[in-house]
Structure formats: C-alpha cells, structure tokens
C-alpha cells in the first residue's frame, strides 16, 4: 500500500551513542525521507533517542556519550568535551507528556518560543514569527481554545497544543514528535497528519516521530526505523519493514509450535 507520490529528498540524521542505565543506545540514522517513524517495543530506547537528540539526557544518567546531528554536514552536539545545550540546538520536541505551562493560556503556550528567544531583528522576522503562530493555531484547530488554561483542556486538546507550540517555534532545524497523536481521535488525526506533514515540508524541516500506529506510518509515507534494545534492527520503506517484521513474528510463532 505504499504511496507512489514522489517526495522531496532530505539528507539528515542523528547519531546517538549513550549508555542510559542498563540500555546501550547505539543508533546512527542516515535519513532521506521528510518524515521518519521510529517503531519498536516499549523500553527499546525510542524516546531516549529523541531526548538525547535534544540534549535532555542528564549527565548523571548517561555515560559514553556522543550525539551528532547530520543536516548536510555532521555537527557534533555532545561528546566527551562538548555539550550544546538544548536551547541552542534548533531541535524542537513535542513530548509524549504534553507538558503545557499551567500558568499560561493556550495562546501564550503557543507563542512561548517567540517570547523566550531574543526579539526579532527586523520587521520581516516579526511578521514571519506571527505567521508561524497563526499557522500553528489554524493547523491544529485551536482558535476556540486560545484563552483557556491547560487545566481546562482534554488530553487530546493538550496534545494538539503541545504540537502547535513545537510547530510554531522559530529557527527549527529538526522536528521530533513522541507519540504525538495519543488521545486524539482517529478522524481528527487523519485530518491533522497530512496538514502537519505539509506544513513542515513547506518550511523544509525534516521530522522524526515515535509511534505505535502502523496506519500513521503509512499515512505519512514515512521511512521506518525499527529499534530494538537500543539498536537499529531494520530500516526502509514502511511497507517493506513491516512486511519483514511480520515474517519474523510468524517465524517465531512457527518455531514455538
């Protein structure tokens, strides 16, 4: 069921080599699709890969550290002598837990990144920032919720605000989404997904998401990376990777008989 639409080629990726507790993450992703989906069982290290890319793994929790970002050239983000802090990486994350700022309204949450960063240098930059916020509000259909506080939102609404907030952040070089559509009903998800994909493509931003939904991967025409025990087990077109995974599962079942 792969979509034959020709998609633009990206050349991006992340390399993450860390010991996180008992898990040894060793992942070197060379990606060419605009959207990549990380699949894998719980505890395989998918979320840790995203957190490492953002620089959020605490120094206390990790040893043997190396994180590189590949956007054209290779840019070291973290190693024995270097640590680029999260706010200087230009990597945005919509986390699994929406983590909305409870003292701010939905509108203020979405505009947070603009307020948090140095003011726009030119009127053009200011217009661009306002356009990003307006686009995020429209894309995630948040107009009726703008003046509400997070405590007054449902789980799915919080998830949408979290994605809109990451989407609206300026100077984004890579978008990471950790199970972004959890709690959002299927119909709405089917409407939001293509718009989000299109919105990121229009800005030339590649995306990597973690999901357990096969449907989502197909809908995004994503490149799929299968992660197991902190390593890449398989990588490629969604239909091929999932077909191989199905064969593996069947072999396992047959061997048990």
């Amino acid at each position: 069921m792969s979509n034959p639409t020709i998609q633009p080629r990206f050349h991006h990726g992340i390399a993450v080599h860390h010991h996180v507790g008992a898990l040894h993450l060793s992942v070197d992703l060379n990606l060419t699709a605009p959207w990549t989906v990380l699949f894998g069982p719980s505890g395989s290290g998918k979320s840790s890969i995203l957190r490492a890319a953002c620089g959020l793994l605490s120094k206390r929790d990790i040893s043997f550290t190396r994180t590189d970002l590949r956007l054209g050239s290779i840019e070291p983000l973290q190693n024995a002598t270097l640590y680029t802090p999260p706010h200087r990486r230009g990597i945005r994350l919509a986390p699994q837990n929406p983590s909305l700022f409870p003292h701010l309204t939905v509108r203020q949450n979405i505009a947070f990144a603009h307020k948090a960063q140095p003011g726009p240098g030119s009127p053009g930059e200011q217009d661009h920032r306002e356009e990003l916020i307006a686009n995020a509000i429209t894309l995630f259909r948040l107009t009726p919720l703008l003046d509400r506080r997070p405590a007054d939102l449902s789980g799915g609404e919080r998830q949408r605000v979290s994605m809109a907030r990451a989407f609206a952040a300026p100077h984004c070089r890579l978008m990471l989404l950790d199970e972004p559509f959890t709690g959002i009903d299927r119909t709405l998800r089917d409407e939001l997904l293509p718009n989000l994909r299109h919105g990121l493509l229009a800005r030339g931003i590649p995306a990597i998401s973690v999901t357990h939904s096969v449907e989502e991967a197909f809908q995004l025409q994503a490149e799929v990376v299968l992660i197991r025990d902190g390593k890449v087990e398989d990588q490629g077109d969604v239909s091929q990777v999932l077909a191989r995974e199905r064969e593996r599962l069947l072999e396992n079942v047959n061997s048990l008989r």
Binding site: C54, P86, P95, P102, K115, A151
Partner: protein
C-alpha cells in the same frame, strides 16, 4: 508605647527580607538542582540556625565582627567602627539567623516544579535564565510569598541574636521584642502588653497574607 521600636522593627524586618530574597533565590535554586555532597553540606549549613540557640549565633557574630578577629579589624578599618551595636550589624545577624526561613520554602518550591516543563521550555529555545524567569519563578510564587512572610515574621520576633549583637540601644537596636523584655524587667506591664499586642498583630497579618494568597496552580494542573 515606643513608636521608634515599632518603626525600627519594621525597618529591620523589611531590610532583612529584601536582602534574603535576593540572596536566597540563587542559593535555593543551586541547592534544589543537584544531589552533590557540596549541596547537601550547604543545605545543612543553611539550616543550622534552626537548631542553634540564637545566643550562640549572636555570640559568634559579636566576637567575629569585633576587634579580636581579622575580619572584625578589617571591617573597623573600612567603616571606622565595629559592626556590633549598630543597625547594619543587626541586619547582618538577622540575615544569617533567618537564612533557613528564606531558603527552605524556595528549595521546596523549586523542587516541586515539574522537570518536564523545564525540559520543554529549554527545547523551545529558552535559555536557563529565561526558563527561570518565565516558568520557574511564576510557578514558585507561593514559595516566594512563604519565604518573604516567614523571613519577615521571624525577624520581627527575633530576640537572642538582637540582644547579643545589638545590645539595647534606643532608636538604634532596641526592637519591639527587646522593648517588651525591658518593660517586663521594669514591671511596666501595660506597656509590655501593648508591645506584645503589636508583635501578635504583625505576625498574624503576615501569616494571614500567606494563607489567603495560596497558589492558584494545583499540582494536578502540572501536566
């Protein structure tokens, strides 16, 4: 009723509170953000005035700031007189004695801020200072209020350190609690009663402010 003592007490409490809030905020943030031995030692040192008799601290300050120590001699060289028995000396003693009352609520408040909110703000491009200003400080409003109120009320009611370090100089170091003690010594119970009522009133009002303005954000909102 000695209005000078009331004004002096309020001035001492306000000055101590202002100095301590400025000093305790970065200290509490540092203590709340790590588990190192150095931080635990600092936390224990900060809490020391809670368990020490105030007269012990007063004695150390009196001797330490006097001409018998090199620090005391340096201070005398710079300002021309010892710090003991002056308002500045009193402020210094109050700051040290009320330190745990300023730091502990802030450490508790900062520690209660959800780490995920801080991480999310950083990933959205906020520098550590911006994260503190826009996320941690507004979410710790109740802690700041508690810190200010406890420091203020504790300074208002201070006795041991004030007596040891400040002596009992009218208009300079005679605070309400010292005035109350003097009046009891002189068997002037009516005046003592008025001073006591002032202390009860000030303390009650400060605590009422603390409890009336509880945080509008419940922990369950921090999602």
């Amino acid at each position: 009723m000695d209005s000078t003592s009331i004004l002096l007490t309020l001035r001492l409490a306000a000055t101590t509170t202002a100095i301590l809030l400025a000093f305790a905020t970065p200290l509490a943030w540092w203590i709340a953000n790590g588990r190192s031995v150095t931080r635990r030692i600092a936390q224990a040192a900060v809490a020391l005035p809670l368990v020490l008799p105030p007269t012990v601290l007063g004695l150390y300050l009196l001797v330490g700031l006097g001409p018998l120590t090199s620090l005391g001699r340096a201070i005398i060289r710079i300002i021309g007189h010892p710090l003991a028995f002056t308002f500045t000396g009193l402020v210094m003693g109050s700051v040290l004695f009320s330190l745990p009352f300023a730091v502990q609520p802030l450490v508790a408040g900062f520690s209660a801020v959800d780490r995920n909110l801080i991480d999310t703000a950083r990933v959205l491009g906020a520098s550590p200072l911006t994260v503190f200003r826009r996320i941690i400080a507004p979410l710790s409003r109740a802690a700041f209020l508690a810190s200010a109120v406890l420091t203020f009320t504790h300074t208002v009611g201070e006795f041991g350190v004030v007596l040891m370090l400040g002596g009992d100089i009218p208009g300079v170091t005679r605070t309400l609690s010292i005035a109350l003690y003097d009046q009891v010594q002189e068997a002037n119970y009516a005046a003592a009663n008025r001073a006591a009522l002032w202390l009860v009133g000030l303390s009650f009002l400060a605590l009422l402010l603390l409890y009336a303005r509880s945080s509008p954000y419940q922990e369950s909102d921090l999602v």
